[in-house]
Amino acid sequence: DEFGDRGENVTVDPSLVFQNDRLRNAYIALQAWKQAILSDPRNQTTDWVGSQVCSYTGVYCAPALDNPNIRTVAGIDLNHGDIAGYLPQELGLLVDLALFHINSNRFCGTVPHKFDRLKLLYELDLSNNRFAGKFPEVVLRLPSLKFLDLRFNEFEGTVPRELFDKDLDAIFINDNRFVFDLPDNLGNSPVSVIVLANNRFHGCIPASLGNMSNLNEIILMNNAFRSCLPSEIGLLKNLTVFDVSFNQLLGPLPNAVGNAVSMEQLNVAHNLLSGQIPASICMLPHLQNFTYSFNFFTSEPPACLVLPAFDDRLNCLPARPAQRPPPQCKSFFSKPVDCNSFKCKPFVPSPTPSPATPVTPSPPSPSTPSPTTPVTPSPTTPVTPSPPSPSTPSPFPSPTTPSPFPSPTTPVTPSPPSPSTPSPFPSPTTPVTPSPPSPFPSPTPPVTPSPPSPSTPSPTTPSPFPSPTTPVTPSPTTPVTPSPPSPFPSPPSFPSPTPPVTPSPVPSPPSPTTPSPPSPTTVPPVHSPSPGYLPPPPHSSPIPPVYPPQHSPPSHTPKPPPSNSPSPPSPPHHSPAQRVYPYLSPPPSPAPPCIRTSSTPSPMSTPSPTPYLPPPSPSPPPPPVYVSPPPPPPVQYSSPPPPVYHSPPPCETPPSVSPPPPPAPVYEGPLPPIVGLPYASPPPPPFY
């Protein structure tokens, strides 16, 4: 068809009688699929004959959800079938399908676009096949999808950011050929498990990771991530597995990781991390295995030595065995790491708290605080008019707008989830809720630069009463954007500052105004109560690492578009990076070209090599454009080697029906690295 999907011409025998139209459509779909199958060494589709489709092997029927009186095909399960062929578009006729499992087969091509008709599809398991091409975007249009497994295929290119806006529970895309940066909206994904291992992702590990409150397990092992670890990992209270081994992570291991109280398996080995191992991590209550070998750590608290399993080899730890030679450590430390140089996007709390924000201001507006609210925006607006002139009219309608604003705020709340870019939307949503913050965000960027900072104290000087109000207003306004989200992350990190909700906005102002902290620091303590100021000091310590990235956002904002445009040249740029870290890079093999639709029926009768040469489908052409150079031999081989299993054999193998190799290997790949107790065998006693 127009998408390049392939189908089959299925003629229904008039003598066949079906229970209902759905089973008739299922018959058409399955017969089309049977014709698209080139090899079935276990003869599983031999019984795909006749109108009794519910008796076909691998086909599972159940009463339809919308009509219990109608029996329909609810599941297709051909796991470990070793069947070769492709997926015809007629499979879209199975509109009641809830599960589609075809792990360990030899299907090639892509996912038909007609799959978007499967509105009830809950589990899509295409793992361990020979699919190729770009990410199958049709899966983004499956409304009921919860389980997505594309691992061990030949998909390439980028992972669309829309994937992380879907309501999924599991994402398995490891062992493919995905490249480029992870979308910064990764944190929007509500999955309980996500495995991205053994690809070629590079760039930053998104700080939005901190928003994945449902996350239990995440494996980013063996990619080319090159950044510092976001401290927001500590916000994940349900995280049990965190594996970022075999990457190029630099900088320190954040102390905040010690707040991930459910952590059981922590693996940061084979990176370029340095500094000291935080004691808070080794004191995690459920930590079973902590592997931090092959890094450049210089200090290790005693608590780490009593963990059930740990590995600290090949670091720069004094008085520990099997460490790096001193010259190697000295050479590494001669180049200090600047986490800001990676220009990773700063952490932005999830838009969930933003709808809570509009609820909060609505009650105070009708009550006595309502006069305070207009007082707050009024000094804010005068500060605002100085940078932008259009904001001048906003102070006048501000007292009137608070009442109509809450109503438009409510509908605005649902709109953020609908857009695919929730990361920028939550920030405009929060300012949209309160009228003063909405004009302030535009001046916020200019306030951040040094020129606007002297303008801020100038309105402070005019009068003492408005001066404390003015500095309090702009400082809380700037944090008003982060302050509603800040209490959400701050409670998990600091239970003590949790009760003083009011002082939470107060401490946030000094941290964002790091360039001008002396003046606002002095004024707030005089104006605000001392107990309210006490929490700011401990809170300010974690805030600085979050706000310094705020400077990078303005510089990072223009960079995303240029990074997207040179995406084709970035693969060649990535190849040298891959050469820098040649170890464990998967062997690049050309995408297997699939057989043309017209030639499919002929190979069933006479599988001749001649029709296979001309039939390259339009989908294979794009993959051959992507050819990565062969990586150099690995430098080091470690104890926890994650073997990369790719199936380079092209789809030409399926036509060779004679050699159908069954998937004999049962246990492959790495398990979590476990260091057993060392048993020193004593020398045998001398015999006389």
Partner: protein, 129 residues
């Protein structure tokens, strides 16, 4: 270390015994036999321990065409009992969260094949047999 000391002690004692009577040789042989037995036991324990840890995986290995529900159920239940992390299991290519063909990965129970629409859990990381 623990065994080196008795070894030295045994050596000294053996020298003394050699100078006295031949009964000492019999005693040293008994001691050697006991040491060998202990060594064998100790050497086997890490192997068993490693094996037990190695069994920690959530995904089921390949079980093609196992039509016997009883055996399938038994093996499936046994494997699931040792499941721990579904993410590490996903690093192997031919494993699936549930070996029951036709059953939802979210409802790996006997008879679940009869209705692929039924699910017993909402988070795959917390699904247990």
């Amino acid at each position: 270390m623990i065994f080196q000391q008795p070894s030295k002690t045994e050596k000294k004692e053996e020298n003394n015994l050699n100078k006295q009577t031949s009964m000492a040789n019999t005693y040293s042989w008994l001691f050697l036999a006991i040491c060998a037995t202990l060594l064998l036991l100790l050497s086997s324990s890490p192997t068993a321990d490693a094996g037990a840890l190695g069994m920690e995986m959530t995904w089921i290995p390949s079980m093609p065409m196992e039509e016997e529900f009883q055996l399938d159920s038994e093996i499936s239940r046994r494997i699931l009992a040792t499941t721990k992390y579904i993410s590490y299991g996903a690093l192997q290519r031919n494993t699936v969260p549930c070996s029951r063909r036709g059953a939802s990965y979210y409802n790996c129970q006997p008879g679940a094949q009869a209705n692929p629409y039924s699910r017993g859990c909402s988070a795959i990381t917390r699904c247990r047999s």
